[in-house]
Amino acid sequence: MDGISGNLASIDYVIIAAYMIGVLYIGSYFAKYIHSTDDFFLAGRSLPFWAIGMSIVVSDIGAIDLITGAGAAYDRGIAQANFDWIGSVPAILIAAFIFLPYYWRAGVYTLPEFLGRRYNGATRWLHALVLLVFMLATVSIMLWTSAVFLNSVLGWNHLTAIWVTTLIVGCYAISGGLAAVVMTDVMQLVVMFVGTGALLALGMWEVGGWSGLTEKVLAQPDESQEYFRLLVEHQPGTEYPWPGMVFSLGLIMSTAYFVGNQAVMQRALGARSEWDAKAGMLVAGLLKMMIPILVFLPGMAARGLFPDLTPADAAIPTLIDRLMPAGLKGLMFAAFFAALMSSVDSYLNSCVTIFLGDVYRPIHKKITGSPLSPKLGLTLGRLLTAGVLVLAALYAPQFAKSETLYDVIQTLLSLFQGPTLAILLLGIFWHRATAWGGFAGLVLGVCLTLVLNILGDAVFLSEAAYLYVSFWSFWVSLAVTIAVSLVTTPKTPEELHGLVYRSVLDEPTAAGPVD
């Protein structure tokens, strides 16, 4: 994060303070409406479609993306946009019109819950464990990113920055639950779009528009038209070869992300109607078009203006430092913090949902013989939110050792995306998939992704090995699940009632969590 001078004017501090106060007020406002676990985890199923869509997008885009994504675009060009374009929209339609209605009508809170009902408890536990590790690590990474950002902009000590962020996010996430998280996300999206929009306008104006940008970049040594192409040839040393982008990212990774990401699905499940849930996903699909334009294009503009930046992640901080006047710097700071907090609060709420729903709730029922009461669930939800946040804050400094946090997150995602999608698809669409088939597919799939990540460039042509890891782990998990299912006993039609596709979509909506 070199490049930001840290000299903010008074107006910048006023804007930052106003933003923080606004977030805290909006978030805390919803505390008075929280009376049950449904209110806390699903916003009382009252969310309108526009809030769902906006929350999904801003939760997806964190400060890491703003810095490292723009830095990657500085280096690699427009191909970076594939992660938000082809890597989002076909999958969003699949999620909106296949999986979301299915989850909605099956009455599930979480994906591990569905996998437990469809397959067995072992599958539920393993999947919940993998998701919890991923989410906890992600929250830690985001808190560390906050520390790096605040250290760079305000000169704060890293630990101070971590705990300030923890305190602010905790104040509204603990009190207001999903409703507070979503509504602050709406505000944060607006702030983020306005801030990055201003940076885009200034950057493109300075570089001379699109024609000026292409002229300046193509004049640089070792640069070619590939910088301005979305689809790049599949050759040794290529960062984002087109088969990886289209077949792995476009089909496997993105679908697994949008149908299996608790943070995304939970927003849709909190909708006031099934129509709002679907429409919310479409709003997210529309808004995703803007992300590369607002985030990656400034990174490319920085390449035209400052061709010798090292590291490339300095692109956005350099643009802010050199181009933005007082006032707008404060707005950009608010935009960064908005992106950061929106991701932290989303993953935090989802992490707690999974822990409470898939780990604690079954244990509680087994020990006490009765389901978890709404009041106790709410209290535990709040305590767990605080606990997870503190745990993530304590672990965050460990990520100081990592150079590329974007790769860490993609690696974490690749550990379970392919196997999850495989057993999910078979579980929903194939009656013959058995409990042990699903479990075997998940276990072997996760083990395979670990091995393939270790092998990395010893096997795969691209440095972005996670593209291929997800692709192959999906097919292997699919094959293993099918093979084991064929030699094990299937569930009866009565046991599958309400779990497979047609039987769910043709029946009225189920309600509430199932222990």
């Binding site: 929209v89 339609l93 019109f97 089909l251 078009m289 990592s402 974490l412 270790i454 092998l455």
Partner: protein, 107 residues
């Protein structure tokens, strides 16, 4: 990547983990590489027009599929059946900019 995996606490950093990774790369690397290499070569030989067809085809197929969904399913949960609540239309509104941008910037 190895440090990333160790970093997230899946395994302790240090001698035995690095030795294990080196062992895996030595044993599994060559056979898996020889399996994946012909695939890489075939993919590399394909013209970029194939890449364009595949990429844009993904959006087009998704859009075509949406139009096969039943009207009753599309409007389920909506307060009324006004044309502007038809999510099939909105799906097209979402897809068209992406198709346009891939046509313009794909190759």
């Amino acid at each position: 990547m190895l440090a990333n995996i160790a970093l997230i606490g899946l395994a302790a950093e240090g001698g035995w983990w690095e030795e294990f990774c080196a062992f895996l790369r030595q044993v599994l690397g060559p056979p898996l590489k020889s399996f994946h290499e012909p695939i890489d070569q075939w993919l590399g030989s394909l013209p970029m027009s194939v890449a364009m067809v595949c990429a844009i085809g993904l959006f087009v197929v998704a859009g075509a599929w949406v139009w096969t969904l039943r009207r009753e399913f599309i409007f389920r949960g909506a307060p009324d059946h006004q044309w502007w609540r038809d999510l099939r239309l909105w799906s097209m509104v979402v897809l068209l900019p992406y198709i346009a941008v891939y046509l313009l910037l794909g190759r």
